[in-house]
């Protein structure tokens, strides 16, 4: 929890999904909804930076695609990581080859190679200590 500009206590309960592929955003959004996690979406890097600037206090985790139009991938990752700061982990989602090597050279918290399992996304939520939705009995 952190204190917002208006003095209200904000809860970091949101995932920011940054991917130019609408279907992938939709897939992760569905997984989030199943887990009761709020979602913000951005289709490119500049949109993601705007969302981060606006909703920084609410975002708990950023899932960032590596290749996107509008900005060079490394510049995009570095800018988003800088904007997120130390309080928000940034995970890389990419279909590029040699994901581990690429991620190792960046200041990201982790990476997930496309195509990924839905359970892999859920594990990221767990790693980011999201409050899990109670399962209906």
């Amino acid at each position: 929890m952190s204190r917002s500009a208006k003095g209200k206590i904000a809860v970091r309960d949101t995932v920011l999904i940054v991917d130019d592929d609408g279907d992938v955003r939709s897939l992760i959004t569905t997984v989030c909804e199943i887990n009761g996690i709020r979602v913000l979406e951005a289709a490119d890097c500049s949109s993601a930076l705007k969302v981060l600037a606006r909703e920084h206090d609410r975002v708990r985790l950023v899932l960032l695609d590596y290749f996107m139009p509008g900005m060079e991938p490394i510049k995009c990752v570095n800018t988003v990581v800088d904007k997120a700061g130390t309080s928000i982990p940034v995970f890389l989602l990419t279909a590029a080859d040699n994901t581990a090597a690429r991620a190792a050279n960046l200041r990201v918290s982790g990476w997930l190679s496309k195509p990924f399992e839905v359970s892999g996304i859920a594990e990221l939520f767990y790693a980011a200590s999201f409050p899990q939705k109670e399962k209906k009995k």
């Binding site: 130019d20 592929d21 279907d23 992938v24 939709s26 897939l27 569905t30 997984v31 199943i34 289709a43 490119d44 290749f67 996107m68 139009p69 509008g70 900005m71 060079e72 991938p73 279909a95 590029a96 080859d97 496309k114 195509p115 990924f116 399992e117 839905v118 359970s119």
Partner: protein
């Protein structure tokens, strides 16, 4: 030596120089030996034999009394006289011997000999024993002096000949060494560099090698450079193409696999199922298109593109492809003008792929959310398709590169351009239809893909 002289010419020059020096040495050596032989023959013939015969005559004259006559001495005189005439004649050896005498200031010897011979003849006629002995003693002395002089002359000539041979030999060896080193310096380091270059390339490292000459080695180096550069460039293109192709293939697979696993783990609610199936269907279509495009691109590259032409309505085909691709356009394309019933003789499958690739690339290259503008116009003999890319700042050379085999544009180029696996296949498809595909800058400064097919 200029670098423009060929290697063969350099070596020929070296061999010619070596041969010339060797021939000069042989000729000079032969001449020296020949002169020495002449000198010794002359000494033997005219000095040693004369001394011997004069000595014998002196022995005969020793016992001769005044008034007595000796047949042996008469014969000696006749023979000596004949030999003297030869020696003072115009033979080569005689002339050279007189020249040597003249140079040495011994001009008096032939005159003395002539006078002594005259005295000997008079003494023989007068049967003057003392006169005969005195004349013979004089001749003996003259011949001894001749032989001493001839020996010195031969020795001098021998020494001069040797020195001349040494000088020719030393100059020749120096010249050959100089030329050899010069040729080696002009060729060997460059060939060594060339060998190093080849070895490095064999080990997987390509470095450009510069040779500014214009001779055979430079031609070979530049040809090797061009070949290795092409191989290296082709390797890089292959790697980049495979990397991008893999990325393009993984993108639809991500959605298919993700939604399929979601359906398995969370079959409810039904709305999710409907959405998931729709996305799986759409992305499967995209994936099959990509795979088919890759296969066709490989076939086109190997010149094995199957072309089965049939009459077909091109305008209807374009509209169908546009409809199928509708979910992939961020904004629906604007159809500026589509002439109906444009018929072409073509392969529907191939043209469908060409249109799909063109529209995919144009969408990827466009500014976000800007609509493509399409026009399909029937001119006199062709169907003219224009796909306007609404992004004016794309450099034309980069667009042209998309048409090269196994070429794709990456995001890392810094221009932010996104693209599929290139348009080589589309251009090949246009070509087999006897048409053409190009990229042009329109009057509104937007680039556009322009396809013309015979209609």
């Amino acid at each position: 030596m200029r670098n423009g002289v060929s290697v063969g010419h350099r070596l020929w020059l070296l061999v010619a120089c070596q041969t010339a020096i060797a021939v000069t040495l042989v000729l000079a050596g032969g001449q020296t030996i020949s002169r020495m032989a002449n000198d010794y023959r002359h000494m033997y013939e005219f000095q040693f034999k004369s001394i011997y015969s004069v000595r014998k005559a002196m022995e005969e004259a020793a016992g001769l009394e005044d008034g007595a006559r000796s047949g042996m001495l008469d014969t000696f005189y006749q023979r000596y006289r004949a030999k003297w005439e030869v020696a003072s004649g115009s033979t080569v050896d005689a002339v050279r011997f007189r020249e040597d005498l003249s140079r040495a200031g011994e001009n008096t010897l032939p005159r003395q000999e002539s006078e002594l011979l005259t005295k000997l003849r008079q003494a023989l006629e007068a049967k003057d024993a003392n006169g005969i002995r005195e004349s013979l003693a004089g001749l003996y002395d003259v011949n001894i002096r001749y032989s001493l002089f001839a020996y010195r002359s031969a020795a001098d000539r021998n020494r001069t000949g040797r020195i001349r041979l040494y000088v020719i030999g030393i100059v020749g060896v120096a010249l050959i060494l100089f030329l050899g080193l010069h040729v080696r310096r002009a060729i060997a380091p460059r060939i060594q560099r060339l060998v190093g270059f080849v070895r490095e390339f064999q080990n997987g490292t390509y470095k450009k090698i510069n040779d500014e000459g214009s001779d055979d080695v430079a031609v070979l180096t530049n040809a090797l450079n061009a070949g290795f550069s092409a191989i290296d460039s082709r390797e890089r293109d292959h790697e980049r193409f495979l990397s991008i192709a893999a990325h393009e293939l993984k993108t639809p697979v991500t959605s298919i696999y993700g939604y399929a696993s979601l359906l398995v783990s969370h079959p409810q609610p039904a709305s999710n199922t409907e959405q998931a199936v729709g996305i799986i269907y759409r992305q499967s279509w995209r994936l099959s298109r990509l795979i088919e495009s890759l296969f066709l691109a490989v076939r086109a590259r190997s010149g094995d593109l199957r072309f089965v032409p049939k009459p077909l309505k091109f305008s209807a085909l374009l509209l169908r492809v546009l409809e199928e691709m509708q979910p992939f356009f961020p904004t629906a394309p604007k159809l500026v003008r589509i002439d109906e019933n444009i018929c072409v003789l073509g392969d529907e499958t191939l043209l469908e792929h060409a249109l799909w690739a063109l529209l995919t690339c144009a969408t990827g290259l466009s500014t976000k959310s800007a609509a493509l503008q399409l026009s399909l116009v029937h001119s006199d003999t062709s169907a003219h398709l224009e796909i306007d890319i609404p992004k004016p700042d794309i450099p034309m050379p980069e667009l042209e590169e998309l048409f090269m085999p196994l070429r794709a544009m990456e995001y890392e180029t810094g221009t932010g351009i996104r693209s599929a696996v290139g348009l080589y296949l589309s251009r090949e498809i246009a070509r087999v239809h006897n048409g053409k595909l190009s990229v042009q800058r329109l009057p509104n400064l937007h680039p556009a893909f322009v396809m013309d097919l015979p209609a």
